[in-house]
Amino acid sequence: MRPSLRTTLFLAPATAWLIAMLVLPLVVVVVFSFGERGAAGGYVPAFTFDNYFNLGARWAAFRNTLTLAPLGTVLCLLIAYPLAYFLAQKADPRWRTALLILVIVPFWTSILIRSYAWIQILGGNGLPRLIGELGFDRPRFINTPFAVMVGIVYGYLPLMVFPIYVALEKLDRRLLEASSDLGSPPWRTFLQVTLPLSLAGVATGSMLVFILLMGEFLIPQLLGGGKVFFVGNALVDLFLQSRNWPFGAAMAATLVLVMLVTVSLYLRSLRRLSGGRDDVALM
């Protein structure tokens, strides 16, 4: 057997899987997005750009998604990095596994139930009441972007912690010793060695969280109470309630496009920071 043929054969299942699971649905979405809504909803074949021209009507969903998803990613990163750093570098190795399990324990319960718990905490009888009883003005948390952000950070934190933890865990400690030996105080060693060598973990974690956040609809639904709407919520509405499939498809296609552009820009800038790898000029 010629090598190229063999390679093709070996790759065939993966290729078939990719086509079935990724390319086909995407093609369907794109085709639908140029169609028209039938009288009773659903899809009628056509070729029109109207769905795209009408996207402005759902601008708020895009705006919320495109601000809260990056913001949520950044917040997750800011909290996850120190946590992962502590787990990988500082925590007693005997406790490390136990602590790591604690990070994933929340995943053992459905996000639905956990979000309801947050509704109780952030709702009128939760934190605001407590703050009120301490003599301050009672703040309003539930159904605000703040509540959505709390839910997002809470829900997505483990996805960020793990890749960063893995990167920091396999960081060779002798490199830190070498840096110290060469005259670098600890904080500069962090900036010049630890951080650049963990950027791969940061990239993976950010990608995971960002991509999943772009499609999020449950948390905004429950903690944003329909006031903080994501593209995901609009899609649920368009496909399941108003049954305007072509318009929903246009929204989905646009979301995919925006995601592709953002992610590739992000990866490119990270690569410049660490991948060309020379001038990790963080100093």
Binding site: D172, R174, L175, E177, A178, S179, S180, D181, L182, G183, S184, P185, R188, Q192, V193, P196, L197, S274, R277, D278, V280
Partner: protein, 364 residues
Amino acid sequence: MVNQTIAELRNVTKRFGAVTAAEGLNLAIFQGEFLSFLGPSGCGKTTALRMLAGFEQASEGDVLIDGTVVNGVPPHQRPVNMVFQQYALFPHMNVARNVAYGLNQRRPRLARADIAAKVARALDMVRLSGFTDRRIWEMSGGQQQRVALARAIVNEPKILLLDEPMAALDKKLRHDMQIELKSLQRELGITFVLVTHDQEEALSMSDRVCIMHQGRIAQIGTPEELYDQPQNRYVADFIGRSNFIAARAVGRDGERLVAEGPGGLRFVARAAEKTAGEGTVTLSLRPEEIRVAPDGAAGEGHEMRVTHRIFLGEHVEYHLRSAALDHLIAVVPRSTDIAGGTPGVGVAVRVSWRDGAALALAED
């Protein structure tokens, strides 16, 4: 030449929990010398080195560098640099940036041009001039080692610490590197402190060798001193090979100790300073100090029988046995190999040694 002390260990002990890695180390390191810590794995060599670098702090005693007690001073504030066992080069930086790393940490900052010039000179010294922009993973093991060396010497440390720097290289490369390292040290005049478990490496490169045994210093001296005047059985056995013979001191002959071995064999032995004048002593007799002559030859000697004969090229090694001596090893240069044919296994020979060939060791 006056030996100026650049670093000192005073009664230094290091414990890791229940493990005592180093105990009661007393040692002065001289300016410009090449000193090796030599000993088997686990004897505390690396621990001693890491206490000089500042990665470990002594549990007891004082570490001095350049006349100052540096107990508790972190590595980044010590005027020493280390070449790590697996090099520990920064994978996200190219060769030049690795070498410049230490210079870039100086405050106030050095001028860019100065850094570039120093880096170029250091790379030149380790014969890597053309490799500035190379990635670390594009370099061979030997080249990586040179980068590690350049990265350390570019800082002009008071002491260069090397932890088994050649352990990962193949034999041929290791030998070349030993020569190169030694000449680099002469050229720079920097004090080198090397950790190794390779006896040949330590003896061939060092001005002085510090032999370690179970966390303690067994003996410090020049390679010749260690070979000719080992102070205890451990050192006599570790450096080169030796026949050990239990004997009884019977008197003195000036500086020498007269001892009687098994079967009434007489030895006039050099005595290590600490050896008592009487009682039992252990004699160390190097294989090459033993003369082997055909049986029936003129002169005195002890009659023994050959049990093994090993041809070593330039030398022939005999394993000998007699009623008095169970097992004696003699190594005879081939040019002086026994006239009239070399004795084979089972042949009787006459064995002798000159006065002062044996060394009486202190009981340890």
